[in-house]
Subunit: 481 residues, 2 copies
């Protein structure tokens, strides 16, 4: 080990510090980086710590900053851009033992949680009061709230209810020097000082470690209905989605899968469905849901659907099966044809159809299958470039296809990453998307709050030729060479 | 003048630079500070500039930072905490000549505007496409979008649609050194890099000057209804509001005025209404508005209302008159009894009733009238401590009442300022609300983006004993003593 880790044992005790091979291995990768054909590679931390209190998090960070040892927060490891990979080694800080629901105040629609609380626990506690946490991501069942906040997550219901960020009221956060701050307010609105809360949400553990979150909850809708529409071609399907959004239909979910995704999904589920583009719908309302569904249907009908099926809440799972199992279907489709890291671009809705077409055409041009799906109502396209992982040339071609789609999304006013974050995988697009001056402003903020680049180094900021970290050269106390 | 302003004339031309007495006077105060009995006092800038392009804004800022001259952005001057008062003199930057609507993309629900565009222009352009900008503040008719963004504004419809911040997609911002950044995305969701956008919104021109904003627009609701409920006492009225919110009624506006506000308003409008607490309601829906209104009414009825009246959209103005004219009624009520600076605290909804009671009781205790009103559904209380402006002792008592209410709001988990910002008036509450470590984190961000404290010095951060500005002592190039 490159440093003496006794300060960790002194602060946390033996039980909460591990240098064992399996613990280090477990914290070396996330879902994106654990496939061997995907770069970047997993990186072993020197040591894994399991704090249980804010004070312990603060002690680790203060000690690590003093000793110039990197600290990378880790939770469920379900991220998809290498976000919690300890790229520069050091300490992996596992936050899953901080998993208490601290308080629930149904009259204020608020719940206070520690960062390791998982999505289903929030839903269970909220559900006892007839409430819900609407912005959970698709991985919400197996992800922690701390990870969702760190990565700026969103999900299927974002089209109606917004992102996780929109449901965070207040955060307790430990900064790199061990100081503990509170960001945001338990009041539903405030204009008091800088909005540190939304700066910290989505900062991927590079600015601080969330140790407590006050979340807003929502009442559950009184009426729920689901729908599935099958189209004969992608142009009709994406035009229908765009038209539904532009007409202002109140949808709670609107997902599209293309014909290739449908084929892969149908093979996996064994469903008797055509291998054709499909749109999945969900509607929430307190009154008049049938009018809203009818309004939606009238719009969809003008785009030549092959079939439009509706289901009450209790039969919705069947209708949605092809969408719900898609990620697993893709991952296990064919050992000789595996998905590259999952694509996640988002564009203004008017660019949604054209970008879908572009993704398919660039795949054809390069002779690769590129199944597309995603949270269509937000203009969010997920795509998997399918490659033979043993074929170096095909892997390289796959990377070109992957990159071309990201670049096009940025060109048309979109973002390189709708909900997966930058992590390691999207760093090279930061300047193209935001411009050099904006990235430099982010760097200045990083240096102001974490001058030694202790927290999650090697993420978000574009890699430099010499692999340099984002250091404040005027920071005192350590040799930053 | 303390500095040679020829660099401004060189950059902008004579027409866009003024050192005239009336221009300087006009930029010395906002709505809060132009009353002579209110502290802090107006401060004259040395010079006023009127840029018309991003490049001109950048030239002024780069030149001013180089010369260590403060720059304070100014727009319509409707703010209420001295936010655009040039507290340290220097340059007042008037942005009202940048008032073009640059583009509207109804298919994406987006509009691109310059910072000097006023609320009604946005509504007019959006309205041509059946769209609207829902979060406009009460002063939206006479305020600029740049001012609303800078101050983190919100309004009557925030209870349903959120704050201005929630409707800003992308900003072009000039930093103190003249660099131009883009923050946010035209995609409706992104997890790409730090959220500079929401850091800049509400930063009151202390971190950068907004030169372009892409706003999101909303479809107009198909059904609108209004309501007014009269209660015999404040406890019933605030309990009804709390119950409506906690029951999840879908209200677009829910405003409360107390009996004193009602009396002042009735005197002003000449309306034949009791001087009693009233709640004003507005409902928006696409379907089923009558069911929602009935649901609301069933909840309100359990709190002993004296009268519950409903109105269709076209007759709503009459019903709402007492609320709409209240600010003017208060300001002109009695020359010998004037409102101190307007209070604006927000608390979790469960604390709303108790805080209203507290505000009334502390007023009684100090023998002063404290009319309360505000955006009740958000837990937002506006209050005016009425004082004889010529009575020094009463002014001092008034300040005590004002402060006691802010302090109580913070104690119960609320914020010192729901929508007026910190400006000069609320600086002393920053540490009480956020804690010293959080305020220090804000200071570090300020120093990182504006090391010379060029932009709007003397705002947000607590005043120091020596009136020191927030300087980065390591910043080079200027004498920062």
């Amino acid at each position: 080990m490159a440093f003496d880790h006794t300060f960790l044992v002194d602060a946390l005790g033996e039980e909460q510090v591990s240098t064992g091979e399996s613990a280090r291995e477990e914290h070396s990768a996330d879902w994106a980086t654990d496939a061997e054909w995907v770069t970047p590679e997993p990186v072993l931390p020197d040591v894994v710590v399991y704090p249980t209190t804010t004070e312990e998090v603060a002690a680790v960070l203060a000690g690590a900053t003093e000793r110039d040892v990197p600290v990378t927060p880790y939770a469920a490891g379900t991220s998809l851009e290498g976000n919690p990979v300890p790229a520069h080694g050091g300490i992996s800080m596992n936050l899953t033992r901080m998993d208490e629901v601290l308080d629930v105040r149904p009259g204020d629609f608020q719940i206070d949680v520690e960062p390791g609380v998982m999505g289903p626990t929030i839903e269970e506690v909220a559900g006892k009061h007839g409430l819900s946490f609407p912005p959970l991501p698709s991985s919400g069942d197996i992800s922690t709230i701390g990870g969702m906040i760190a990565n700026g997550a969103s999900g299927m219901q974002t089209v109606k209810y917004g992102e996780v960020a929109d449901w965070v009221l207040e955060l307790e956060v430990v900064l790199a020097d061990g100081s503990v701050i509170t960001a945001g307010s338990k009041a539903v609105k405030t204009s008091s000082g800088y909005n540190l809360r939304d700066l910290l949400v989505g900062s991927e553990g590079t600015l601080g470690v969330v140790t407590r979150a006050t979340l807003e909850l929502a009442g559950r809708p009184r009426q729920i209905k689901g729908g599935r529409v099958i189209f004969s071609n992608l142009a009709d399907a994406s035009a229908a989605v765009t038209d539904v959004v532009q007409s202002g239909v109140d949808v709670a979910k609107i997902e599209l899968i293309d014909a290739e995704s449908a084929r892969i999904s149908n093979a996996y589920t064994g469903a008797d469905l055509p291998d054709a583009p499909m749109v999945f719908l969900e509607f929430h309302a307190d009154h008049g849901i049938d009018e809203e569904v009818a309004f939606c249907q009238s719009i969809v009908e003008s785009h030549d659907p092959v079939a439009f099926e509706l289901a009450p809440e209790e039969r919705m799972d069947d209708l949605w099966e092809a969408r719900k199992d898609l990620a697993f279907a893709l991952a296990t489709y064919d050992p000789e044809m595996r998905p590259l890291h999952p694509g996640d671009v988002t564009v203004p809705i008017s660019e949604y159809g054209p970008l879908m077409e572009y993704a398919k055409s660039v795949g054809e041009e390069y002779g690769l299958m590129v199944p597309c799906f995603g949270h269509a109502g937000d203009g969010n396209i997920h795509y998997s470039v399918m490659v033979d992982p043993d074929d170096e040339e095909e892997l390289a071609r796959g990377e070109e296809v992957y990159a071309a789609i990201v670049e096009r999304a940025i060109e048309v006013g979109g973002t390189a990453t709708g909900e997966h974050g930058i992590g390691q995988g999207k760093r090279e697009y930061m300047v193209a998307e935001h411009g050099e001056a904006s990235v430099e402003a982010m760097r200045r903020i990083k240096r102001a709050l974490d001058p030694t680049d202790t927290l999650n180094p090697g993420k978000i900021f574009p890699e430099t030729a010499d692999g340099e970290r984002v250091r404040d050269r005027t920071a005192t106390g350590n040799d930053l060479s």
